[in-house]
Subunit: 216 residues, 2 copies
């Protein structure tokens, strides 16, 4: 991903018609479109291919399986047109390495910690170890919560020049400007773009905020 | 799932033709068919519906997302015909509870620990806590590795009357008889059934072993 707008659309809609219209309207203002399993289960895997004609698609599949299954999923996502894939670090280094190898140059992002309350139970205590693992496994970057800019800063200290993608901006309470100032490269924004009366304007607004935070 | 054969087919093929032929041949000898994301990405989500016409389908989706996304995935899997779904415990209790609630009576199985080498890094140290969580969250059962019958026994001590499903039998080195004697209710068998020259015979053989181990 070239750094251009600093915004990734989390397209968490499942109605294929709505997905198409939001993606087309928003495409000029975002760097990538992040999709998740609910869309695959509603629209089928061809959604990856369709959306990748508009913008690079990141499959937020939160892969968490044994190395061979992680590999098979990654291969198929890439074959369908995905430019990036999101994987959990929790199942271990070999599972992450399998994704990096299978991605053949597509981008791989490792979840460090999760922003929901349950994320404090098991993922937060090992988040720093997982950030180190992402570096060792030669991932492209990590996912760190925009709702906790302090954590983004600490994780930036671990991952060096790796990309940091930060979800939780907007409806979930995180600020795009704060996340970027803390060290995030891209903010991931969902509902406050696709749920807005004018998604394109909402995307442009977040993009402007991200751009201006980057300049400071 | 009624306890009848004690064998679940892990249908890890991705060629739709092969999937159909193996599933039809093996259906009379297994209690359920377990499928994973690679099949969804190759054959589309209709595979859930098609296979559920033959046997109950367990979606081994290893869900590991925030509660709302876990819920959306579960709802769609059930709507497509799934009888059960597999979820990770490490994203926290709220993520597991969201699946149990969305499943509306369909069976929910929580992964305790994973049997591959990387599973020792983060999952094994918290496996017992996750087994307790499965009980608290009112899951139907847990996944515990057939390759480590000692662990099945310990996890049985935690989960009481919950179901234990044990993968790793056959090609991965686990023994169906050992796993069932240690306390597993069902063994999950993949390659040594679907990769056999006569999958139906191979399934019948494992089923006989499981049955006879149960009687002891």
């Amino acid at each position: 991903m070239k750094r251009q707008h600093g915004v990734i659309l989390a397209l968490d809609e499942t109605d294929p018609e709505k997905v198409r219209s939001v993606a087309s309207a928003v495409a000029p203002y975002v760097d990538a479109i992040k999709i998740n399993w609910p869309l695959i289960l509603s629209a089928g895997p061809a959604a990856i291919t369709d959306l990748s004609a508009l913008r690079p698609v990141i499959c937020d599949f939160k892969l968490a399986d044994i190395p061979n299954t992680n590999r098979l999923i990654t291969e198929q996502a890439i074959r369908r047109g995905a430019s990036g894939i999101i994987v959990h670090g929790f199942p271990g280094t070999d599972s992450v390495r399998a994704v990096v190898e299978a991605a053949k140059g597509a981008e791989v992002f490792v979840v460090t910690e999760m922003s929901h309350p349950g994320g404090q139970e098991f993922t937060a205590p090992v988040a720093d170890r997982i950030a180190h693992m992402a570096v060792d496994a030669k991932a492209s970057g990590v996912i760190a919560p925009a709702t906790r800019p302090g954590r983004i800063k600490e994780i930036r200290g671990i991952v060096g020049s790796l990309l940091i993608l930060s979800p939780g901006v907007g409806a979930q309470g995180g600020s795009a400007a704060d996340a970027i100032r803390a060290g995030a490269d891209y903010v991931i924004v969902g509902r406050s773009i696709y749920g807005a009366p004018h998604p394109a304007e909402a995307a442009k607004d977040v993009s402007d905020v991200a751009q201006s935070a980057m300049k400071k």
